[in-house]
Every structure is written in C-alpha cells, then in structure tokens.
C-alpha cells in the first residue's frame, strides 16, 4: 500500500474530503436545529436538491456564484415552507410529509432540468478560490485546506455561531424547550409553533445552501438526483452529534473522507473494484451507527406535532 501514500493521492483525498464534507455539514447543521425544536425533517434531501437546482440555475443565468447561493437558499426555503405549513401548522405526520417532499423535489427538479437543458449538462466556470499567500502554497494540505472558496470558511463560522446560539441565548433555549417539552414552553408563554416554523425554515435555507455548494462548487453543474443521499447523511450527523454543532463538523469530515476515498483510490490507480469503493461512505455510516448510535440522545418530543391541551 506504500504506493498509495503519494502526494497526488493525499492531495486529492484532502480536497475531496472537504468538498464532500461541506454540503453534509450545512445540511447537518440545518437538520440539527429542526431536531432541537422537535421536528424530524426528512424533507431535507428534497430541500437540498431544490437548492442545488435553483442555485445552479441562478448562477448559470447571472454568472454570479454568490447570487447562485442566494438562489439555493431560496430553493431550500420553498420546500421548507411546505414542510412548515403541513407538519408544524397542520400537525401532519413528519415522516410521511418529509418523504413526500423529497420525492416531489426529486421529480420536479429532474423535470424542470429536462425542459430547460434537455439532455445537456452545461458547466459553470471554475470558481475563484481564496489564496492565502504562504499557507496555500504548502505541499499536500495547502491547496486543500487553505485554497477553498470563501463559502467553506463561512460554513465553519456557522459552526461557532450556532454553538454560541444554542448555549448562550434565549433563542437557543427556546429551541431546546420546543423539542424537549413543548407543553412547558407553551404554558411559559413561549410560541411553540413559531419557533418550530423558524427552525424548519432555517433547515431549508442551510440545506438549500448546501445543495447550491454541491452543484456550483463541488460539481460545477447540475445533474438530476445529484444530492445522492447527502441530506439523509445530514440527518444521521444531526442525530449522532447530540445537539453539538462541533460534532456535526467532525462527522461531516469523516463521511467526507470516506466519500473522497472513492476518487482518491481511483486517482491512485488502485485495483479495488469501483463498486466496493463507492460503498465506502454508506459502510461508514453503518459502522458509525453501530459504534455510536446507542449514545445518540434525541429530544423527547422529536417527531411529535404539538397541539395545545391535547391529552
């Protein structure tokens, strides 16, 4: 295996890990807020895909990556609004609606893409990267760690901001209370449905942004179904992270590394069959669940719609 540890292999491993980790990180952070507030947001995969589609479309039409990100956020929000109305306001089953929204978004984005581009997959120009003199020039880790698009560092900043928000603010406390005992929050004068709607919309925005990153930075193009379960992995990350944004970051890097091994092993010319290599991230999910799944602690009222005075 000595031949594997070449500079090309490591460089593509690190680069791939980060590129793959960022969408999952964003999705996981978003999902985490929904789960804290008591909404199991299975529609996140659909939100991400809608974000990828809208993000790509806007970036393609306007030639602006940043407007593309705004488009992605709006795309995710559109699906999230449906989720918030159906599951929080009307109290419908979160799992059924979540699956429905994901399937709906998959079909809709594929259809719209087909109408617009037929079977062509136009590419966006390669994004400009951050260049920190000195650091970016380091061998192996330089380009992968310090030469990424600015959005990567904003995602890292979000980890810190969210951690502070959950711990230090009334908003964070209200979110936790809504997921743990909504009735207690209600009689204390808080607004359970309001905070849950907010959390679902935040999830939509983050997932949409993650999707836009996936399309515009990760791939540079939009392909139907391109999220390929990244949103679902976000759900797993949120569950394993026990409410801590920092653990979502760690988890997304582990899964990102597993995903990027796929490419890195091919770059290295390994003779392991591709099918086995492509299984890796999902095997990693199961391995992590077996190892840490029992310790995952979820809010008590997760998945249950809240209705005042119901008994």
């Amino acid at each position: 295996m000595d031949g594997l540890l070449t500079e090309a292999f490591l460089s593509s491993l690190f680069t791939g890990a980060i590129v793959a980790a960022v969408p999952m990180l964003l999705a996981g952070l978003g999902e985490q807020m929904s789960e804290k507030a008591g909404v199991l947001n299975i529609g996140i995969e659909g939100m991400m895909l809608m974000g990828a589609y809208m993000g790509f479309l806007v970036a393609f039409k306007t030639d602006s990556l940043w407007l593309g990100f705004v488009g992605g956020i709006l795309g995710g929000l559109m699906v999230a609004i449906a989720m918030a109305v159906l599951c929080v306001r009307l109290g419908l089953n979160q799992i059924v609606i979540g699956i429905g929204l994901t399937l709906g978004a998959e079909g809709l984005t594929a259809l719209l893409h087909h109408f617009q581009f037929s079977r062509t997959y136009p590419r966006l120009p390669v994004p400009e990267r951050l260049n920190i003199p000195g650091l970016t020039d380091l061998p192996v880790i330089g380009p992968s760690l310090f030469g990424r698009h600015l959005i990567v560092y904003l995602a890292l900043l979000a980890v810190i901001i969210l951690a502070l928000l959950y711990r230090r603010t009334n908003l964070g406390m209200t979110l936790r209370a809504a997921g743990e005992s909504p009735a207690a929050l209600d009689v204390a004068g808080g607004n359970v449905l309001g905070i849950r709607v907010f959390a679902v919309l935040f999830t939509g925005a983050m997932a949409g942004l993650g999707g836009a990153y996936l399309a515009n930075i990760g791939a540079g193009l939009f392909v139907p179904f391109m999220t390929g379960g990244a949103g679902f992995i976000g759900i797993v990350l949120a569950m394993l992270a026990r409410g801590r944004p920092f653990w979502v970051l760690i988890g997304s890097l582990i899964f990102g590394a597993a995903l990027s091994l796929t490419t890195a092993l091919q770059v290295a010319g390994s003779n392991i069959p591709t099918d086995v290599i492509q299984m890796l991230p999902f095997a990693a999910v199961m391995l992590v669940l077996v190892l840490f799944g029992r310790r995952a602690k979820l809010p008590s009222a997760l998945g249950a719609a809240y209705e005042r005075g119901a008994r």
Partner: protein, 533 residues
Amino acid sequence: MALATETPTNLSPQKGTGIIGVHGVTKRFPGVIAVNNVSLSIHPGEVHVLLGENGAGKSTLVGMLAGLQEPDEGYLTLEGQKTRLASPSASLDAGISTVFQHSMLVPTLTVFENLTLGAPWYERPPRAAITQRMEELKRDFALSLPLDAITGELSLGQQQQIEIARALLRDSKVLILDEATSMLTPQGAEELGARMQKLVQGGLAVIFITHKLAEAYRFGTRISVLKQGALAGEMGPEDLRGMSEDQAVDEIVRLMFGREAGAASAELRASTARAETVLKVTDLSTRGDSNVMGLQNISLDLKAGEILGVAGIDGNGQKQLAEALAGQRALAGGRVEIDGEDISLASVAQRRRKGLRYLTDDRLSEGSVGAFPISENTVLKDIGQPPFWTNGIERPHRIAQHARDLIAKFSVRTPSETTPIGRLSGGNIQKVLLGRELSGDARVVVFNKPTYGLDLQNIDTSRQRIAEIASRGLGVVLISTDLDELMALSDRIAVMEGGRVRGILRNDGSGEVLRLRIGRMMAGEEEQKQATA
C-alpha cells in the same frame, strides 16, 4: 407585594368580585360536561382551595384560568373587567401563573433557563437580575435553588419550587397550584403550606387545588367544593374560623358525597399473614443510568396473606423494584423466588402464569391500550389463552361478557364495554386494571401506587379490595407514597431510599412514632442539607 397598595376601592373587601371572577362558566367535552355553570371569586390575600374528586372539573377550571381552554358559556373577569384568556401567554400577561399537576419544566434545561423560559428570543438572558431576585425570594419565602443545576436531576419538591419561583419572578397576582402536594413528602407538603401563607400575606391570591381534605382545612382561607363539574358549596373564612378540623372535614365530606362518610383515615387492618412464604427476594440488584435509578441488594420476603408496604419518596427505586419483580426489568444480580421456585430468569408471561401479578402506576401508557375498547383491555394479558381464545380463535362474546362482569363488579363508570379505555377517567381505568390483575389464579400481587390520583370513594374501595385480597391468602406488595395508606393496610413497611431498602419496620400501630421513623428513613437517615446556590 405591589398589590397590597392597590386594593379595589369600589368593592367591599368581603363581597367584591375579587381579582379574578368566574361567572357562570360551562365547558363541555365530547360526552361530558366537565364544568357546569360555576361561579367563583378569587381574592388577594387568600388561599382559595378548590376541592373535589377526580373528574369534578378542577383541572378543566385550571385549564381555563391558565389559557389552555376557553369556556363554552360564561365569562371571566379580571379586577372587575370582562376578559378573555385565549392562550397561556394571555393568562400570564393577566398576572396568573399556574403550577400544573404535571411538571411544566423542561428537564434538560438548567434551573436558570427554566426560570427565564418564554422570554422573547432576542433578549439576553438576564443573569444578574435573576440572581438578585432569587436572593430576595430566598430571604422572603425560603426558596433556595441551584441556578445551574439540570432541572431533571432535582427532586420533585425542588422542581415545584422552581415553578413557584418562576411565578414570583413574573410578579404574578394570582398563583394557581394544581394538586401541588401529590408529589411531595408529608414534610414537603407542610413547607408548601407555610409558604402559601407567606405568599398571601404578601398580597398574592393563591388558588390551591387538592383532593385531600385535611390539607384543604389546614392551608385554606376559603374552600370551594366541586362535584361533578358543579359548585357543591363554599366555606368562607368566617365559616372556617368557627370550626375544628374534624367539623370542617365532616362538612366537606358532606358537600362532596352528599352523605356522612365515616372517618377519613382507615383503622389499622387486622393481620391475615400465614406461615408460608410466597415471595422471596434475595440480594436483588439492577443496573441504573443517568435516567433510571439502579437497585442495590434488595432482600424481602412476603408471607401468604401478608401486605408488605413499600414506602419512599417517589423516584427512589420503587418503580424499578416493581418492574424487576414483574419481569419487566433485567436483574443484574440476586434472585426472586415464588413459592420456593426460582423465577429470576422467567419472562413476564411465565411469572404471570406462576401467579405473580403487577398493577402498574402508569395506567395509560403501560397498563392499557388507550384506543382499544375496555373489553379487549381486560384480556390484554391473556391473549391466546382460553376461555377467551380457543384454538387461536378469538371469542368476542366471552370477552364482552367477562368485561361486563368486571365493569359491574368493580363499578366502572362507562357507557359500555366497547368504549375505548382511553376515554375513561384515571379512576375508572384503574378499576379495569385492578379487575384484570385479580382475575385468574393469583399468588402475589404487586401494586404500584394503586390509589394515586383517585378520588376518595375510589381510594376507599381500592383499599378495601387490597385488604380483601390479602385476607384470601395472597401476598401483596403495596408500593405507595401515601403513608396513611401504608400504615392503614400493611403488616410490615419496607422503606426505600436511593435504590436500597433502608429498613423494614413492623407496623405495630404505634402511629406517629412509626411515621416519624419512616419519614427519617425516607430522607436517608441523616438529614441532607439543602443545596444552596
């Protein structure tokens, strides 16, 4: 507090409409009139006791004052002004704070966070202000709370203090305490009584809901008795002053039941214990974790015809002991024998067939399937067994007949045996479960808080049934947080604290002396110093 200076001037203090007026309020739920044309007047400086059996409408009335429900007919007034309380926040804004029967705190948040829960999201947590106000509360009302402790790790008494502190921090004018003593030790209830007196002296109005007669007399300035949703009578301060406790209790009982019931506390039951041992527990241990207390080296034995009481403050391992006996909780060590036969590894069903019966305190989620009709709930533990199933085929007529017999025998109040059990009141569900556990060939019955949350009449009949079960030669393990109940029924009383049995005392009828000994054991022998913030 602030209210002492603003006494309503247009109203005479005795007969005015008070700070809250309830005017001809009626609330209906499908099939029942929960509250029927009730009028009340709540005055500052008074502890107003709402007394009534289960299903008398107390909780519904509380719900309307707390903004959880709105009346179908009638209206509420606030300082003489007609008002609507459409949501909990409207109720809070009106100066009404409610401490509900079931804790309305978020167990995973800290005490400080629970105190500020409901504050606008954009505000910064007011740490310094709260700390200062808590100092005042500590001085004025002896409320002392560790602000950074996780709420779920505190005792129920302390949790209740958090809710009271929260009400005071909001400068409430009215404090509603719904069944506030049901979770407390006798000492804790006394402390609460003293605290209520201090609060009303400060000008607050307290509404205290209870079904315990003695508490009503000792703590109340004014007592309103509810019966089947309607106001059955009211005793004002001038009435109560002229009465002794016995007279007041007699009067209340008359109002509640419309008949003269005998002494409220039963006399010591004559022992029916026999020589043979039916249940023997040796060194029983279970594992615990951060949510569940583990049991350590519990040894008990139970004779046929004996009632072994298990005392303890709620949450000291009684539930785990009951589950370990019933086979619902794996043992980490030790053994359980029934009639000399080791059943430590036997399943729930095997133990049931050996004659071990368990009556859970969790009637709704563990004891019954709410959406199933009563009839199916009566045979829930006999699925597939004759005579209700023959050759795997259900016999609905036999089940229905069995259920009708049970409903008649245990006087369950229900339209029919096909009514889903979840629609019944707690007391009636309890009757169905009791009937279910007593059917068939029982040897040992484990009761976990069998009369908790029941009304007086049902408590009385339940206790008689328990005594009768023992007199038939069955062994009874009676877990209860009600010392009166244990001292009335038990031959011996085991006291649990921190997952251990601290001692087993013979119930020798020594009354107060025994009660004090048990109380000290429940508190863990040495008086634990209250944690100070």
